[in-house]
């Protein structure tokens, strides 16, 4: 059973992360001035920092974290594989390849919206390729194999772009983007990512029951009245649109989708549906705190978010697995 304190705790952490993310940055603004800036008075520079720099960054951290956490939980349930994460079906790599193409061909410099748009296109193309490879199969193994093929192909495309980069700066630009970050994201990015993420969340929202039934395998799930084909389309579309939209704006941020469901699962009845929404909240909290850490650690270059989630995530994950002594 889900303990009664889980949701209050997650909501508290969510609010704390949101407020801290608004309050922390390279410009130290004391609390009273923050409040007056937030309520329309105060210094116009501080107001701009708060509303045009920190607010979109905070919204993106929470929304991207939520879709990564939720999609990880959905995929682990659907593929019945505790090692699944949003990148396992090649969607993240597909989106990254689209974005890298925008950087490589200089389209990103021509118009800033082209990078995320091509990223989403990359995610959708990778989904179509996955569907062509699996052709109506219901076997999780076939989806994982096809996903590895699609992801590896997109990864090879990214490597090719790096290989053929005309100069070190172009390669550096691509590498930096690939590390994943929320730095300098504006409301333009929010407007692009948020609708995609919202569609992704909506598509994933109706899948809980089907995922529960699938813990008995495909035949039993079908015998319990689950339309497996429809569930498959919902999940794959949610992945391409939701995660594709998120990755297109932030770059590749790993480990959140893998770790969060594992952190949540022991505090639920371990059924896939019980893990879904707490994982969305947990992902939002984790990514927002990681993004706060990025801003607080004093380094000459700002640390990239994807680097921090990896460094934070692996020890947390290992400690957790050792405590649980099992993989699910």
């Amino acid at each position: 059973m889900t303990p009664r304190w889980l949701w209050p705790l997650l909501l508290f952490l969510f609010l704390a992360a949101a407020l801290l993310s608004m309050g922390v940055g390279s410009a130290a603004i004391p609390l009273p001035r923050l409040l007056s800036a937030a309520f329309g008075n105060g210094d116009p520079v501080e107001r701009a920092i708060l509303l045009e720099l920190r607010l979109p960054r905070t919204i993106l951290a929470l929304a991207v974290g939520a879709i990564l956490g939720l999609s990880g939980a959905v995929l682990q349930g659907w593929l019945r594989n505790p090692l699944a994460d949003p990148s396992v079906l090649g969607t993240s790599n597909g989106a990254a390849l689209g974005a890298v193409a925008a950087l490589y061909f200089g389209l990103a410099a021509a118009h800033p919206a082209l990078l995320p748009v091509l990223g989403i296109a990359g995610a959708v193309i990778s989904l179509l390729l996955l569907l062509a490879l699996t052709r109506g199969s219901e076997s999780p193994l076939i989806f994982i194999l096809a996903g590895i093929a699609v992801g590896t192909l997109a990864g090879a495309g990214i490597s090719l772009a790096l290989n053929l980069s005309p100069n070190p700066f172009a390669a550096m630009e691509i590498t930096t983007w690939l590390l994943g970050s929320l730095e300098d994201r504006s409301f333009r990015h929010v407007l692009l990512a948020l609708p995609c993420i919202a569609i992704g969340l909506l598509l994933f929202a109706g899948t809980g029951r089907a995922l529960d039934a699938l813990s008995l395998g495909e035949e039993s799930a079908a015998s319990l009245g689950i339309d497996l084909g429809r569930v498959r389309m919902r999940i794959l579309l949610g992945l391409a649109i939701g995660v594709g939209g998120a990755v297109s704006v932030t770059g590749a941020i790993g480990f959140v989708g893998l770790i969060v469901p594992h952190l949540i699962r022991p505090y639920t009845d371990r059924s896939p549906s019980a893990v879904l929404w707490p994982s969305a909240a947990g992902g939002a909290v984790l990514l927002a705190f990681a993004d706060i850490a990025v801003r607080l650690v004093p380094t000459s270059n700002e640390l990239k978010l994807g680097v921090v989630t990896a460094f934070l995530g692996v020890p947390v994950f290992l400690a957790h697995l050792l405590k649980e002594r099992r993989i699910w």
Binding site: R80, R209, D212, A213, L214, S215, L216, G217, E219, S220, A222, S223, L224, G225, I226, D227, D269, R270, S271, P272, W328
Partner: protein, 256 residues
């Protein structure tokens, strides 16, 4: 009262006809044993009847073609337990059995008092109520088989299709399993069980479907479907039978 009928049902898998031209008519309150050697098409026939495999011919549930019914409607009328049911997450027994209520839940609604009562009944009937809080992945083979059966019972469908529910059980649990299916049939459910154990099927089943190479080799009450001739033809074995009314069958030796 439910009625299940097959009209010239055939199943083709991997270019091979695994079920050929099976026609039959079964009614509520019957315990039907689906028998036949390995590869005779028992599982494929059960899946086709449950609407889980593409098939030729028609499967009629209460006179309506199952192919035309919505999945959710079939799911409420017909519970199915596959052979060697797997479980991918360590759910508690009660939660697992509760999955059997999925066909009855309206969209966005949670499990209600009526569902909880059905789960409780299923746990009681399968004699696993004392396991309700345990993780289903940590049970013994016998407990696990009964829990999976309880999941199918929780659907409370008028037709119950179970594929080798007694595999890997000790004799006491096998007999208990047959008695459980018997009780379901006596309560008015149409029970189809794919079985390998001839003595058990002979003793407990009202009706036998004997499959041989995908075709119905014999059908009827146990005494008329399982005879020295049909056993020799289908299984290639000889058997001893008890006195009439004793319902005793003992397989003896291979004769081909």
């Amino acid at each position: 009262m439910v009625a299940l009928a097959a009209e010239h049902v055939g199943v083709r898998l991997g270019g091979r006809d695994v079920v050929r031209d099976v026609s039959m008519r079964l009614s509520a309150g019957t315990l039907v044993g689906v028998l036949g050697p390995n590869g005779a098409g028992k599982s494929s026939l059960m899946k086709a009847l449950a609407g889980l495999l593409p098939h030729s011919g028609r499967v009629l549930l209460d006179g309506v073609d199952v192919a035309g019914l919505a999945r959710s409607e079939t799911a409420r009328k017909l519970a199915y337990l596959p052979q060697g049911q797997t479980l991918h997450w360590p759910l508690a027994v009660e939660r697992l059995v509760g999955l059997g209520r999925l066909p009855h839940l309206a969209p966005l609604s949670a499990i209600g008092p009526a569902d909880r009562a059905a789960i409780e009944r299923a746990l009681q009937r399968a004699d696993v109520a004392h396991l309700a809080g345990r993780a289903a992945t940590e049970l013994s083979g016998g407990e696990r088989a009964r829990v999976m059966l309880a999941r199918a019972l929780a659907v409370e469908a008028p037709a119950l299709l179970v594929d080798e529910p007694l595999a890997n059980l000790d004799p006491a649990h096998q007999i208990a399993g047959m008695e459980l299916l018997r009780a379901e049939a006596d309560a008015g459910v149409l029970v189809l069980a794919a079985l390998h154990d001839l003595p058990l099927a002979y003793r407990h089943c009202d009706h036998i479907l004997l499959l041989h190479e995908g075709q119905l080799a014999a059908e009827g009450p146990a005494e008329t479907a399982l005879t020295p001739e049909t056993l020799a033809r289908v299984y290639g074995i000889s058997a001893s039978f008890g006195s009439p009314g004793e319902r005793l069958l003992i397989p003896r030796e291979r004769i081909r």
